[in-house]
Amino acid sequence: MTERDTWVPADMAVSTPLLLPPAPPRDVGMPVQTDTVGAWPPATPRHRRRSRGMRWDAVGVVLTGMGALLLLFFTYLYVFTPLTHGRDQHRLLQSLVGNRRAVYSLVAHQLPAEGKPIGILTIPALHQREVIVMGTSSADLQQGPGLMAHTVVPGDPGNSVIAGRRATYGAPFASLGTLVRGDRVDVVDGAGRFTFRVTSVRQLSGGQADAAPVRGQAWLTLVTSNSALDASGHLIVVAKAAVSSDVTGSLPRSRYDTTLAGLGGDPAAGILALLWGVAFVVGLGAALYAIRRSRQVWLPYMFATPVLLACGLFACESLARCLPATL
C-alpha cells in the first residue's frame, strides 16, 4: 500500500477531526484509492463483527432448518404413518379374503411369504381387528402386527408370537397394556378360528429371557414396546387357547430365516435415509439457487416441489425403518 492509499474505517470516519477534508462518499470499509491498485486492507473489527454476524445467521438458519426437518419427520411419523397403515391393512384384508387359495394353502402346510397376510387378529376388549403378516422386521410391522419367525402359527401347539407397534404406523398395540386376565383374543387364519384368553400381562427388560409356555398347548404371545419413546424393553401379553386345536390341524413352523434380535430396526435403512437426506438437501439447495436466479419463479417451484417431496418422504420412511420395530 502506498502513501496515497488511505484506509479510513467507517467508525473512524465519524471521528475525523474537522481539519480534514470531508471524506468522499464511499462504501463502509472500502479503501480510498486514487491511482493505484492494491490488495485489500486487513479486516477491521467492524468487518470481523459483520462476518461473525453472518456466521451466526448461518448457524441460526442451519439449526432452525434442522429443527424444522425433524419436526417434519415427527409429523410424518405420527400423522402420516397411521394413514399408510390403514391403507396397508385394507390392501392386506382385500388380498386375504379375495384370494381363497392363498388362505386354504395354510391348511396344506403352505405358509405365505414374508410380508404377506396370514390371518386376522381380533381383540374385542380393545375394539381392534388387524391383519397379521408374516415376519416381524421393521418393514413388516409397518403394515400391521407380524408373526415372528420360528414360532408356530396361531392355533398350533406351541407358542405363537405376534409383535406389533406401539406408537407409530397406526399403533395397533398401543393399548395392549390395558388388557386384563381373561380378556379374549381371537385369531382367524386358514386353519380355523382360535380363541385365546389372556393369562398375564407383563414387562420384560432388555435381555431378559421370555418364559415360554408349556409345550403341547397352543399359546399366543403379543409383543410390543414397553414405551412409546424409548424401547428399552417389551410389553408382552400371554394368552392361552380356550379350546385345543384340531388334532389334525398341526401346521409347520415358519421356514424362512430372519434375524430378529430384539425386534430392532433395520440398520440398512439408515444408509438409505442418509442418501435420501443428502438428496433432499442438495435438491433444496438447488431449488433455492434456481429460485434466486430464475426470472420465472414458478418454474423451479414446479419442478422442485415433487422432487423434494419424494426425497423427503423416502428419507422419512427409511429413517422410520431404523427405529425399533415395535415402537
Binding site: Q94, R129, C322
Partner: protein, 755 residues
C-alpha cells in the same frame, strides 16, 4: 399324428343317477355347465368324457372328468398341458409333485371300471406370467426328462387344456410305466377358459366389512366381483368366514352391522340375538351336503377306483359321524331282515352292509375298506341340518337289489337315533345324549386314522382328500399309485364341496328316494318348507315329496336395524341389493359359483322388499360428541391415537357406539373408527398400565427368545432431543442476530448525522 380338439357339445344334464358305475349323465358340478367330448370321426360306441367346469374356471378349482364307454380295464390319465402341446405325441405337461403355490401337479391315472366309466378330478391353476407368479414345471409325459415350464391364462400364447388319454391295458394289469403316444385315437383335449382376471373394484367404492358363515364364502367374492364396477351402486364387501355362532355373537355385540348366517334358527344364535334389532334377508340358496371322496377295491387286481356317487341313509351318516362305522364291511348290516341268500353274501354277513348293498360294486369288488369321519367341529348350518335330518327322518324302507336284480324294499333295523346315542368305546362321557340337532357336532376326543374333524371346510376337505389320496397326502387325486380303498365323508355346504373337488352324496328322503342336490331338488325342498315369523324357512325333513333334496340351505343376511349413519345404511343395502340380484339372476362374465342355485323368485321378492324397507326405516343415530381415544394417552405426548386429530384409518375396526363417518383416501368409507378408552389411561410417562400378574407358572420353561433392546432404541429419543434443541435455539440465534443487526444500524444512523 396331429391331434385335433374333439367337437365340443355343451349339454344340459339331468340329476345324478341312483346307481353307481352307470354311465353318468349328470354334470358333476351340479348347477354348472359341462362339456361332453368324443373323439372326432367316431360314430358308434364312442368313448366320451364329461368335463366341467371348462369356462370361467376359478384359480385352484377342481375340474371333474367323468369317463364313459372306455374299454374296461384300460388305464386313463389326465394331464394339464399348455395348449401349444395339444398336437404333440409326447406333450410336456404339468409336473410338480412337491407342488407350487399349494397345488400338486402329477399325471392323474386311474383304472377304468368294468362298466367303462371312471371319475377323476384335477386341480388346475390360472398362472399368468408376471405378477411374481412362478411358472408351472412341465415334463414330457413319457418320462424322457424333457422339461419346460409354462404359464396359463386366456391369452393365445398361454392357453392351457386338459388332455384325457386312454393308456391301454398296461402290462399285467399294472399301471403303464411309459405312456403310449398321444393321438386322436386315444386322447381328447379339452380347452380351459379361466375366469377373467378381476380388474378390481374402483377405489371409490365404499367398503363394507362383513362376517359370514362358511356357506357364503364361495358366493360373496364372486358376487362382489360381478357387481362392484358400477360407479353408483358398487360396493366392496370384505368377508371373513367363520363359524355361524361366532358370526351372530359378533353381530349381537356390535362388532359388525351386517353378517351372514346359514343357521339363524340355531337356539344359541337366537339367544345371542335377543334384544338386538335386525332383519333377516335371504341372499343365497344352496344345500347342506354330505361331501365325500370314495374308492372301491377291485379284488382281482387290488386296484382302487374312485366312486362317483354314493347313497346314504340317516343311520349310515349317524354311524360315520360317531365313528361307529369305520369300514364298509360290517357296518349297518341289513341282514337281518334280509338274508344272505337274497343278497348273495354267502356266509359272510359282513358284506351285507348298507354301504355295500346300496352302493353296488362290481362283482368281485368290495367297498371302501375304511371310512373317515370328516365332519366340522364348529357351529355350521350344515352340521345342524344334517343332524336334524338324521334325527327327524322316519325309518323308511330303502331299495336293495337282490341277486336276481329285483328291487326289495328293506327297513333297516338300525336306526339313527340309536346309533347316535350309543356310547362308543373309550369315550366317556358320550357327547350325544339324545338324537337332536347339533349345530356344533361334539368331537369325540379321538386321535385315530378314521376320525378327522376340522374347524373349516378347507380342513375337512384336506382330511377327506388325505384319506382318499393316500401317500401323496392332499395330492390331487389318484396320484401315482391310485387312491386308497378308502372313503371320507363330511357335512358342509355344497359351494365349499364343489370348490374343493368333493362329491355330494345322495341322501334318503322321507319318500324313500335317494336324491342328489340339484337346482330342481333344492327348489322342490324349498317349496316344501314353512316360513317362520322371522322370515326364515323351517325345512321339512319329513316331506314325502320324492323329488325333494332333504337338506336345502338358505344363507341369510343379518342386517342391523339399530340407528346407523345413513351413508352406512346405503352402502349396506346397496351391497345386499347387488348380492341378491346376482343370486337371483347372474349375468355377465362372472357365473354363479358351483354349488349354488338361483335364488327362487319368492325369496328374491322377499329380499328386495326387506332391503327397501331397511333403507328407508333405519334411523340415523343422535349426534354424539367426538370421542377421544383417551386410553391411548398411554403412549405419552407423542401418541397419535389420542386427541381430536384424524382417527387412524383402519378398515375393519368394530364399534360399540353409533359411529361417524371417517373420510378416507379411498373415497367415502362407511367404517367407523372410534376406539373407546378402556381401563385407566396414564399420561406423560409413555408407559402403559401394567397389570400385575402372578409369578410365572412353574410349568413355564425359560425360552430361547431373548428380547434384546438394541442401540436403535436411542434413535427416537435423540431425534426428539435434537428437534427440541434445534428449533428454539436456532430461532433464538436468528432473533438475536437480527436484533443485533438492527441495533447496530440504529446506532449508526444516530451517530452519522453528527459527522
Amino acid at each position: 399324428m396331429a391331434l385335433v380338439v374333439a367337437a365340443l357339445e355343451i349339454v344340459a344334464l339331468p340329476g345324478a343317477p341312483k346307481v353307481a358305475y352307470a354311465v353318468p349323465p349328470s354334470c358333476p358340478e351340479g348347477a354348472n355347465q359341462c362339456v361332453v367330448v368324443t373323439p372326432p370321426g367316431c360314430t358308434a360306441s364312442c368313448p366320451s368324457v364329461t368335463v366341467g367346469p371348462t369356462a370361467a374356471v376359478a384359480d385352484g378349482a377342481y375340474i371333474y372328468t367323468q369317463l364313459s364307454n372306455f374299454p374296461a380295464g384300460d388305464w386313463a390319465s389326465i394331464e394339464f398341458c399348455p395348449a401349444s402341446q395339444s398336437t404333440s405325441a409326447d406333450p410336456i405337461c404339468a409336473n410338480a409333485p412337491n407342488g407350487i403355490a399349494g397345488i400338486t401337479f402329477v399325471s392323474a391315472v386311474s383304472k377304468v371300471l368294468p362298466d367303462g366309466s371312471d371319475l377323476l378330478s384335477y386341480q388346475v391353476t390360472s398362472d399368468p406370467p408376471g405378477q411374481g407368479n412362478e411358472a408351472i414345471p412341465g415334463l414330457d409325459v413319457d418320462g424322457n426328462q424333457t422339461a419346460a415350464p409354462f404359464y396359463c391364462d386366456n391369452s393365445p400364447a398361454n392357453g392351457c387344456d386338459l388332455e384325457i388319454t386312454d393308456l391301454g391295458q398296461g402290462s399285467g394289469g399294472i399301471r403303464p410305466v411309459t405312456f403310449p403316444p398321444f393321438t386322436t385315437a386315444n386322447t381328447m383335449v379339452v380347452p380351459l377358459v379361466f375366469a377373467a382376471a378381476s380388474a378390481g373394484c374402483p377405489s371409490t367404492d365404499p367398503i363394507v366389512d362383513t362376517e359370514g358363515s362358511f356357506s357364503i364364502e364361495q358366493f360373496l367374492p364372486s358376487a362382489v366381483e360381478a357387481t362392484c364396477a358400477d360407479p353408483s351402486t358398487g360396493v366392496i364387501g370384505l368377508n371373513i368366514a367363520i363359524d355361524s355362532e361366532s358370526v351372530v355373537s359378533d353381530f349381537a355385540s356390535g362388532v359388525a352391522h351386517l353378517v351372514f348366517t346359514d343357521d339363524p334358527n340355531d337356539p344359541a344364535e337366537q339367544a345371542a340375538l335377543k334384544g338386538s334389532q335386525y332383519v333377516l334377508i335371504p341372499v343365497a340358496a344352496s344345500a347342506s351336503v354330505v361331501s365325500f371322496l370314495s374308492a372301491s377295491v377291485l379284488n382281482s387286481e387290488s386296484t382302487p377306483s374312485p366312486e362317483s356317487t354314493y347313497e346314504l341313509t340317516p343311520n349310515m351318516v349317524a354311524g360315520m359321524l360317531t365313528a361307529a362305522y369305520t369300514s364298509s364291511y360290517g357296518s349297518d348290516l341289513l341282514v337281518p331282515p334280509l338274508t344272505c341268500k337274497q343278497v348273495g353274501c354267502g356266509k359272510n354277513t359282513g358284506l351285507a352292509s348298507s354301504f355295500n348293498l346300496l352302493n353296488a360294486v362290481p362283482s368281485g369288488s368290495t367297498g371302501p375298506s375304511s371310512l373317515l369321519s370328516g365332519f366340522s367341529s364348529v357351529a355350521t348350518g350344515a352340521s345342524d341340518e344334517t343332524t336334524s335330518w338324521l334325527c327327524s327322518m322316519p325309518n323308511v324302507a330303502v331299495p336293495v337289489k337282490n341277486t336276481k336284480g329285483k328291487t326289495i324294499p328293506v327297513v333297516d333295523q338300525n336306526v339313527a337315533a340309536t346309533t347316535l346315542t350309543t356310547p362308543g368305546v373309550n369315550v366317556n362321557p358320550w357327547p350325544f345324549p339324545s338324537c337332536t340337532s347339533y349345530p356344533v357336532i361334539p368331537t369325540l376326543g379321538k386321535d385315530e386314522g378314521d376320525y378327522g374333524p376340522a374347524q373349516t371346510p378347507a380342513g375337512q376337505a384336506k382330511n377327506i382328500r388325505t384319506q382318499w389320496g393316500g401317500n401323496l397326502g392332499e395330492g390331487p387325486v389318484p396320484g401315482l399309485t391310485g387312491p386308497n380303498s378308502a372313503a371320507g365323508f363330511g357335512a358342509m355346504d355344497w359351494g365349499d364341496a364343489a370348490y374343493f373337488g368333493l362329491n355330494a352324496a345322495s341322501l334318503l328322503n322321507a319318500s324313500g328316494d335317494f336324491v342328489a342336490p340339484s337346482q330342481s331338488s333344492i327348489d322342490a325342498a324349498l317349496n316344501d318348507a314353512t316360513q317362520l315369523p322371522n322370515g326364515t324357512l323351517a325345512y321339512d325333513y319329513t316331506t314325502t315329496d320324492p323329488n325333494a333334496y332333504p337338506t336345502p340351505m338358505v344363507t341369510y343376511a343379518l342386517l342391523s336395524t339399530a340407528p346407523q349413519p345413513h351413508d352406512q345404511v346405503v352402502a349396506e343395502t346397496d351391497l345386499l341389493t347387488n348380492l341378491v340380484n346376482f343370486s337371483h339372476s347372474p349375468s355377465g362374465a362372472v357365473p354363479l359359483p358351483a354349488g349354488y342355485i338361483p335364488l327362487p323368485d319368492n325369496m328374491y321378492a322377499q329380499a328386495t322388499n326387506e332391503i327397501q324397507t331397511a333403507l328407508t326405516s333405519i334411523p340415523a343415530p343422535p349426534p354424539t360428541p367426538l370421542q377421544t381415544t383417551t386410553g391411548s394417552t398411554s403412549v405419552g405426548s407423542t401418541g397419535t391415537t389420542s386427541g381430536p386429530s384424524a382417527p387412524p384409518l383402519e378398515t375393519s375396526a368394530p364399534t360399540l357406539s353409533p359411529g361417524t363417518l371417517a373420510s378416507t383416501g379411498l373415497g367415502s368409507s362407511v367404517h367407523v373408527q372410534q376406539f373407546g378408552a378402556r381401563g385407566t389411561s396414564k399420561s406423560g410417562s409413555g408407559v402403559g398400565p401394567v397389570v400385575k400378574s402372578k409369578p410365572p407358572n412353574p410349568g413355564f420353561v425359560p425360552h430361547i427368545i431373548s428380547l434384546l433392546a438394541g442401540r436403535d432404541r436411542w434413535i427416537l429419543p435423540l431425534l426428539l432431543g435434537a428437534m427440541i434443541l434445534c428449533l428454539p435455539s436456532g430461532s433464538l440465534v436468528l432473533v438475536v442476530t437480527t436484533l443485533r443487526r438492527r441495533w447496530a444500524r440504529r446506532k449508526s444512523a444516530v451517530t452519522e448525522p453528527a459527522t
